[in-house]
């Protein structure tokens, strides 16, 4: 099983490679897109502008590509907004073509319409379909073939049993599942609310009956699936996702490093349910 982790700055690439990541992903939002669409119709799901968490210029991509050629850890770019407008699809194809030209051909997307446009344009790239695409069942799998998808990322609330049922039916796909951080109680594919700088996330609004929040800095406090490593492996999941774009690099680095250590112990035969001393009680797969 391999680790894929999010990051927000090209300078952090080497640190995360050293920590043990097998793949990284980040956003790319050039100022020319922001000038036209702002974050009203954002390029990816990280809509905030007041936090630096995107690459923003071809020069950054070139620098990152140079490091990738040395370290060999690939980077996927996220273009995972839930939808775009008709005018945006043609702009997006130009942007994706520029990214391929610069050596980035792995894209995490959530909009099947974008996948269709990529296929029609004949752009040679690898498409990873985000869990933000929507709910998945056996009838969805043939559509993924239509859309040219190579990897399916399960959303946060797909059960282990459902994962196993699906992976058996389409063994040629790669499968990725969440393992650490940002376990949101809502499903991202159906979250149509704002995640901008000016307003709190709607899922964190105070309401009657709200409970205490865990300390987000503790390992796994905001979401953890370590104890399910065995079932994830048996279900056919080969990629484990560490959410982290926008978090401090020290935290993501720690999360990847600790996860790498735990994964090594698991693959050496340890019981995953005993890997973590204290459960965060914020489990992806058992709550």
């Amino acid at each position: 099983m391999k680790i894929t982790a999010g990051f927000g700055c090209a300078d952090d690439y080497d640190r995360l490679c050293d920590a043990g990541a097998d793949e990284l992903f980040c956003g790319y939002v050039p100022v020319t897109w922001l000038a036209e669409y702002g974050n009203i119709l954002p390029l990816n799901r990280r809509e905030v502008l007041f936090v630096d968490m995107q690459l923003s210029a071809p020069s950054e991509l070139r620098r990152l590509r140079q490091r990738m050629d040395v370290r060999g850890v690939p980077v996927a770019l996220t273009f995972n907004s839930l939808y775009y407008t008709p005018a945006q699809y043609s702009r997006l194809l130009e942007l994706l073509a520029d990214c391929v030209e610069l050596g980035f051909d792995r894209f995490i997307i959530a909009d099947p319409v974008l996948a269709l446009h990529i296929k029609r344009a004949g752009l040679r790239c690898h498409i990873y379909m985000s869990g933000e695409c929507g709910e998945i069942n056996r009838y969805t799998l043939p559509l993924y073939a239509d859309w040219g998808v190579e990897r399916l990322i399960f959303h946060r609330q797909v059960t282990l049993r459902d994962m196993a049922s699906l992976t058996r039916r389409a063994p040629d796909l790669e499968y990725e599942a969440f393992i650490l951080n940002e376990r949101c109680r809502f499903t991202g594919a159906f979250c149509q609310s704002l995640h901008c700088d000016e307003l709190a996330h709607i899922c964190r609004l105070q309401c009657e009956g709200g409970g205490d929040s865990p300390n987000p800095d503790d390992f796994g406090a905001s979401g953890c699936g370590i104890c399910a490593l065995g079932e994830l492996r048996d279900a056919g999941v080969t990629w484990l996702k560490v959410v982290g774009r926008g978090a401090h690099i020290e935290q993501i680095e720690r999360d990847v490093r600790v996860l790498r250590g735990l994964l090594d112990r698991f693959e050496a035969g340890e019981n995953p349910r005993t890997l973590v001393k204290e459960c965060s009680n914020n489990c992806y797969y058992r709550m």
């Binding site: 000038a35 007041f50 020069s59 699809y89 709910e135 009838y139 969805t140 459902d162 609004l205």
Partner: protein, 336 residues
Amino acid sequence: MRPFEVSLPSGLVGCTIGGVPIKVISLSPTSIRLDADGEALNLRVYFYRDGGMCPLNVTAVRDGADYTVADPVYAAEVRRVTKLYTAYIHRRLDQPDADSWCDHELPLLPNGFDPDTDFGEVSLALNEPSGYRQPTLPVKGKIVRLYVGSRTCPTLLPTPEDWRRLAVLGYPMTLVLPPLSESMLDGVRPLLELAEEAEINDFGAAALCREYGVEPRLGLLLNRRRLDPRLPLKDGWPDFAPMLAENSVNDPLWREYLAELGITRYEFAAANYPLTVPEGGHSLHIGWIPTNVTAAFRESGVTRRYDGLPLIERQGGMFAFFVGGTQNFERVVIEP
């Protein structure tokens, strides 16, 4: 960095040279440091304003590792955006009063419309067991169809007995399905045997409907768009509202693909901005519309309210109240 130089996020300041994006490493009111080379550069510098980026053309002259910019408008913009950023990093968005929506005049319409006056013939949504078993008809308009089911919670779907009992009332009925996970499929098959059309909220359900000869309609959760009652509080409102009018169902390639799946009619959620509706016999849903949905089983009976906002949490989702113009729609569906 020089004195008074700051590094700002790329969402607040950016730059292009000849249309090519260039990273701004740092800047001060009289200088800029770029990831670029040249003795003198004609720059288009973009500064955050009202949710977007506004351009300013300046000339930058090489001065060591930096470029000097002698432009009072540039200086003023650097100061403005730096001040904005400083204010931002001192805010605490995790505190309940960080959103000052109570100080703003958001339109609150939870009790607000008269279907007789505005909408004429309507369809009525029944989305929980009490509604299936003892349907009350609160709207004054003429009801011509029932939408029966839940797009947020699989535990709230009608039983086949509920469906048959409602069918006796004589209204045409549309089955409303939630996004169907792998383990939910068998549970809905008995309902698909009874229905003639269904609002689907996952892409795979189109093929499932075909197995039963049920016409699928693109559900609200697949007809995705920005839905948040707090949109009027976002920087740049209302100027950016026209940008939201279209979504992917306005794309010809997508409509062609949906037609291949058997989907030619779409369910639209009302929003707090005008919609551009493609041709075809589509429906508009008004009332309590889901803005967020969880696929996990929830305590469906629990309702949580958010003071000061037309927003409630129930039935495995978060719902906001929207009423929109009904032109260009074949059906209007009242969501209680």
